[in-house]
Symmetry: C2
Subunit: 165 residues, 2 copies
Amino acid sequence: MDTSKTDIFIKMAIDSWNTQNSRLSKLAETLTDEEMLNQIAPGKNTGVYLIGHLIAVNDGMLPLLGFGEKMFPEMEEPFLKNPDKIGWQKEIIGELKEKLQAVNNKLSQGIAAITTQGWLQRHTAVSETDFAKEPHRNKLNIIINRTNHMSYHLGQIALLKTRAQ
Amino acid sequence: MDTSKTDIFIKMAIDSWNTQNSRLSKLAETLTDEEMLNQIAPGKNTGVYLIGHLIAVNDGMLPLLGFGEKMFPEMEEPFLKNPDKIGWQKEIIGELKEKLQAVNNKLSQGIAAITTQGWLQRHTAVSETDFAKEPHRNKLNIIINRTNHMSYHLGQIALLKTRAQ
């Protein structure tokens, strides 16, 4: 009974992640090159930057969750450590869409394989000592926090569609 | 041990809700009247509409979670059932800020009082029959889903601040 309760919580968090991550994939697929190169609002981030940012964040989840090394460490510099820049070339867009799919495939494989007990283990950025005091800093918490972060930027990326003329 | 696991999950979901809801309150406090009346991007929703929308959604959580009736049912028509409109008057802004605080105070009281077992109970919009088949449609799931919904709009409302000239 209690294991099943734990499984229910895990399902809730994973369902929520999957919902938002699918929305991101669909949005990325339907955005035209021009929309991707646009700013979400005057003077704000471009679609290219935000999609790149979310790829870099998803990629960073792989080592945090113990699913392996980052696939695209080269995304860190332009999309995590630095703000958006002027003048993205549209050639980058196809590459971003491929990277998004690749990192999400690897994440999905990891998520499918992890056990109930595995979700309750500490993520790799928290020390054993800290985790003993703060057991909520587990792998499932990474999923919950990254789902919110993704939703935050999804709300912005959605502004690129059906822009009023 | 298993009860404590359940408590850890509940803490994760509530912490996440509290973080996003505090961000909303702080943003609402710091936005000037002019920023609130602005659109988040050309042709998109205004700050007034999005803050009103989130108040209406938070208000709807009260009956869903069994915390009582809606405090502001009059918010439903303009902020849930209808899209944004042109020409909000700035007089509404003070009223929105008060309603946001009031509904969040009542939500916080409810959240503080609900038991571990209470979070696992069905929310009031799911039937007993459906809940028997889908036990993840519990009260904590409302918190998880509404946290993502809030993050989505927070990312948009944040665009109203420090708008590039």
